[in-house]
Amino acid sequence: MGSIFLETTEDPTRGADRIGGMEPIIATDNLTKTYRVGKVDVPALRGVDLIVQEGEFLAVVGPSGCGKSTLLHVLGGLTRPTGGQVLVDGNDFTRMNDRERTKFRRHKIGFVFQRYNLLPTLTARHNIEIAQHIQGDGFNPHRFESVAEMLGIKDKLDRKPYALSGGEQQRVAIARAVICEPKLLLADEPTGNLDTENSQVVLNMLRILNRDFRQTILMITHNPEAASVADRIIRMRDGRIVSD
């Protein structure tokens, strides 16, 4: 663990691409995150040590309030850790400011949320395209077509979110998350709002992405069945990893 953190580059946004070809996609060392609620400090992560290799499909399970979502937010660069170290694709988030983490997130991370989080005013097509637009690398029609085909949403692209079922919305959300070919896909309870059938479809999609495209996935879930799809399951309690 120590060697990984020692070999980060001076520029925090330009991490070492590989360390002997074995650099993990995620590496945290004694990671802590404390929220300030009023005048009270509430620790959400109390020293998380985690290594995730590229291409892994990892499920994080644990009771509500155990720090799963906070871990996902920190790994996604949405919030800054309070202490410890966190490397994602060789980039040290503890040394990056908000602008640098945003830039990193834009190019390297895709999110899938429990509540889909599609932009309600846009069609499915535009919801997916906007990720490419924000990334700024231009619209890639070939990539768009193949993602839409793989996720089975080609005939739903001109519908707005309110005209799609929960399963369809989540598939659009997955398409949006992977359209820019992120290094890391972070899924926060992706089946939490879905019935069994749609949950299975979404989990299959994630499985295919991982198996066929070596997409690294970190999925948070309450559902043991959903977690069983992953290659590896870690359990969290009270802001710590209790089993791996």
Binding site: T79, T102, H107
Partner: protein
């Protein structure tokens, strides 16, 4: 995304567009009416056909503000100056009862020598001391016909004729009657002087300066150039105040609209941030939305202003609303500027939202 967003809340969009349209309309109409009235007044004075106007010391170039009478005998001395073709005295009467009117007391023979005479559309010249001539715009606006009785300065006047507009004033009474009504016997407020050739105007003015050193001597050309809002006390302040109010309306409505938009779309901003949208991207989206609203408002404002002008001119034929491209561009720029200013704080606020809090926003 910008179009979809403004279509998502049509009533809010409509209110914002209307506010900007009112802003544009107010600017264009206030400026158009003040400038239009000034220019129309100046053109009417030009329409008298004189080359020079002579007023007593301290007289205002805005005729309604002062009567400042001077002896009519001055006219005889002016007529003797070389290259002077004709001189006519006019006494101003300011009527504020039942409307604001400037009435010219005119000496018909000399006025004809300077102006070439009235063009009578109906009726004819004065027959009696209490006869009055009105121009066609006044007649149309007030539904006046030949033979009608008009009351000015507590006196009834019979309409003797309706003349073509553009001869200094809209109402004309005999000079002697005007002098009697104001107690200014043998007095005049102004002399209109016509030269044998307009080219002699500077020379004639120089000669007049020797004769009447403290009097206000202006060529009509100079008068035309001076008839701007800069010359009328408080008019520019009034225009500025009205423009400020108009821009303020646009600013506040756009501010409120974008502020509520940000609150309503907090979660969407969180989504954009999760996709990697930076502060600049978020600010850009908000400002572009405000820009689109203001452009729609400007277009609506232009069309609305044009329609309101039609209604004003049809309802009040004596009013002139001068819509110029110059002020249309200014009104547009003010609207865009006000809107961007109004949207700026909400945009900054949106850009600073915490992505985790935004995504959790219900």
């Amino acid at each position: 995304m910008i179009f979809e967003n403004i279509l998502h809340r049509p009533i809010r969009t409509l209110v914002s567009v209307l506010a900007v349209a009112i802003e544009v309309g107010m600017v264009m109409l206030v400026v158009g009416m003040t400038h239009g009235m000034l220019h129309e007044t100046a053109k009417r004075v030009q329409g008298v056909g004189a080359d020079i106007m002579v007023q007593p010391p301290g007289a205002s170039m805005f005729f309604g503000l002062t009567q400042a009478p001077m002896p009519v005998q001055i006219g005889d001395r002016l007529a003797q100056i070389p290259h002077v073709l004709a001189v006519t005295p006019v006494l101003f009467l300011f009527n504020a009862h039942g409307g604001i009117n400037l009435i010219y007391g005119v000496d018909m023979p000399s006025f004809k020598n300077v102006s070439g005479g009235f063009i009578y559309l109906k009726g004819g010249p004065f027959q009696h001391p209490h006869d009055i001539l009105v121009d066609d715009w006044y007649a149309r606006a007030n539904n006046v016909k030949v033979g009608s009785t008009l009351n000015f300065l507590n006196n009834n006047f019979r309409v003797a004729g309706i003349v073509e507009h553009g001869m200094g004033a809209r109402l004309f009474i005999p000079l002697s009657t005007a002098q009697d009504l104001t107690g200014a016997r043998d007095k005049a407020s102004i002399f209109y002087v016509k030269c044998t050739d307009p080219g002699y105007t500077p020379a004639v003015i120089n000669a007049m300066k020797e004769l009447l050193p403290k009097y206000q001597l202006r060529s009509i050309k100079e008068y035309m150039s001076l008839m701007t809002s800069n010359e009328l006390p408080a008019l520019n302040a009034f225009i500025t105040a009205m423009i400020t109010v108009a821009v303020g309306i646009g600013f506040l409505v756009i501010f409120l609209s974008m502020y509520t938009t940000i609150t309503e779309r907090t979660r969407e901003i969180g989504i954009l941030k999760s996709l990697g949208a930076g502060k600049r991207y978020i600010i850009n989206v908000i400002l572009r939305e405000a820009c689109l609203l203001s452009v729609l408002g400007i277009i609506t404002g232009y069309v609305g202003t044009w329609l309101v002008r039609k209604v004003i001119v049809a309802t009040f034929p004596t009013l002139t609303v001068e819509l110029t491209m110059h002020w249309a561009v200014w009104a547009g720029l003010l609207a865009v500027g006000g809107s961007l200013l109004g949207a700026f704080y909400p945009a900054i606020r949106a850009a600073r939202l915490d992505p985790v809090d935004s995504l959790a926003y219900e």
